[in-house]
Amino acid sequence: MARFLLSRLGLTILMLAGLVLITFVISNVAPADPAALAAGPDATRDMVETVRKEYGLDRPLPEQFVRYVGGLLAGNFGRSVATGHMVAEDLARFFPATFELVSVSMTLAILLGVPLGMLAAVRRNHWLDHATRVIAVSGVALPAFWFGLLLQLLFAVQLGLVPTSGRLEVGTPPPPVLTNMYLVDALVAGQLDTFWDAFGHAVLPAIVLAFPCLASIIRVNRAEMIEVLGSDYVLAARAHGVARARVVGVLALRNAMLPTVALIGLRYGWMLGGTVLVETVFDWPGIGLYAVSSAIAADFKPIMGVTLLVGLNFMFANLLVDLAYAGLDPRLRTAP
């Protein structure tokens, strides 16, 4: 087990190094001149050259790379040329918002997806099965940005049930900073009003973000459940008189959960990607929105920072999933 963990950790570090290289290569094939961009449209050639020196952009590429990696190891992601902000500070400010949104979405997707997939498998061709199939099929196909706009139109504008966008009402002060996740911070500070305010704002974007994940959890859980229910050991349990509810809810669920757990790790990464669209629609000030505005300004250090952070997160999530997997499947635990 420990060896397995160590080798996975080593692999993760190797992949991270590869990712750093890729982002660096991408940012240097750009036709745009970052120094000119930073110096502004009215800058003279001298001013551009000064900026170039200041940002170290005049050094040879290998040296720039070494300096970049050295900075990364010290937690320095560089400086945005558009705003002059340190990227690391920006990321620390924006990431909690994204993490909060993704967490709510993932919880929603799992809590709904697993039981729905199970029910659909048990009641095959029942209306419930057909209803969940509509969700499962449309979930992947719905453009998140369009779906978000429609939900805003219906629930925020027409029905007025929830706010349209943002993280809090304009007048509401953010809760005392602890994690920068408003839901957590508000609860810790005991500010229930702020909590519900933040929760209301999170509902629509969380639903939109959860939808594709919900869809695939339903699909995988249903398919896996059907397969497990047709397995020999389920037949044996039934032959021994074990009640159907226990066969499905206890015995088969554990088997069926294995691929679902693997899927959750994969989907976590996709969700992080999806935040790019959802945060744009809902003006959610997370790293997705940050990446988009930086990309439009051709501002590379923030984009590289977001890419690395998302990659790191994703790798970490997969590590956790591997651990959970080993916990659920005894065959892996005793494997050398």
């Binding site: 050991y233 044996a236 032959a239 021994h240 008189g241 005793t334």
Partner: protein, 327 residues
């Protein structure tokens, strides 16, 4: 009265190419204390018949065309799931072919035993604490001669050998003190040396607990070792049913004769083995008349037209063949 009574039972499976006539008018009665062997080639419907006894075939795609199955005087086909649950494991217990796939890979042996024991308790309206259930599980494992039963409860199926797994499955089947034990190819997936151990165990259990046994196998040797009576199936029909000694001595159905001729005999290596020419029929469109007639060396015109009934020819011996003469 018979413990198990199958009368005119026919079952079909619906599929892409049409309906497979898997079981055709099965007539079979098993008395209390009997040991009956059900023999036939792969695909002759013997496992489907075994599953039918507990209503374990999924409907659809399976479809019951006719007949009834009575156990201890009760019509199984009329029972609902709750009533069936009491019979499953409590009246009729099953042992399966491949001990690997019939144990759940992600639960410990103890958890799986406990699940079965609790299911029995629920059927009997009884409640036991976790410790008692664990003790009962260990006792069952000891009863099938598994050493160090208590430690075994915390192991997982993949950590056990094939023979041990099969013993665990037998222990589960014993949990409900069922009167009829249905064993579907219990030794097929095992090594020969383990096979004989498991067979000996089964024989002892049957004798000690006064169980009625229905043993299903394609191996006449296995059946001969355990059963006093043998039922031969071919392509979804019963072709012969006789006391074991009588059947080995004087098989009356041409298929049974072919089957016996195909068994190698270590004592007579000079004997030439005879196979049965042809192959098992397509059950989508089974042959008219006797299902065996295309492969039968003795077939006459009548066999092609008319289905032979299962007739009593001699004491305790029934044969479905037009040519069989009373002895």
């Amino acid at each position: 009265m018979s413990l198990l009574e199958v009368v005119d039972y026919s079952l079909a499976f619906d599929g892409f190419e049409g309906t497979h006539q898997v079981l055709d008018a099965i007539d079979l009665a098993v008395d209390v204390g009997e040991t009956v062997g059900l023999v036939g080639e792969t695909g002759c419907g013997k496992s489907v018949l075994a599953k039918s006894l507990l209503k374990l075939n999924d409907i659809p795609p399976a479809r019951i065309l006719s007949g009834s199955i009575r156990f201890d005087g009760r019509d199984l086909l009329a029972l609902d799931e709750t009533a069936l649950r009491a019979i499953r494991g409590g009246g009729i217990a099953m042992i399966f072919q491949d001990p690997m796939t019939f144990l759940n890979p992600v639960f410990s042996i103890g958890d799986q035993m406990a699940e079965v024991i609790r299911a029995r308790d629920r059927a009997d309206n009884r409640k036991r604490g976790a410790r008692d259930v664990r003790a009962a599980a260990a006792a069952l494992l000891a009863a099938v001669r598994l050493p160090d039963a208590a430690a075994l409860l915390d192991r997982y199926p993949h950590e056990l050998s094939g023979g041990m797994r099969q013993r665990v499955l037998i222990a589960m089947a014993l949990a409900g003190h069922a009167r009829l034990l249905v064993a579907d190819e219990p030794t097929t997936a095992l090594d020969v040396t383990i096979q004989s151990q498991v067979l000996a165990l089964l024989a002892d259990l049957v004798a000690a607990q006064g169980l009625t046994l229905l043993l299903i196998s394609h191996d006449l040797g296995v059946i001969g070792a355990l059963c006093r009576r043998i039922v031969v199936m071919y392509a979804g029909t019963i072709v012969e049913d006789a006391p074991a000694a009588q059947l080995f001595d004087r098989p009356l159905h041409p298929y049974t004769q072919g089957l016996l001729a195909a068994v190698p005999d270590i004592g007579r290596p000079e004997r030439r083995l005879a196979g049965i020419p042809g192959s098992i029929p397509n059950l989508l469109a089974p042959p008219a008349g006797c299902r065996f007639h295309p492969r039968c060396p003795l077939a006459i015109e009548r066999c092609r037209r008319e289905r032979p009934a299962l007739r009593r020819i001699a004491a305790g011996q029934r044969v479905a063949c037009h040519l069989a003469e009373p002895v």
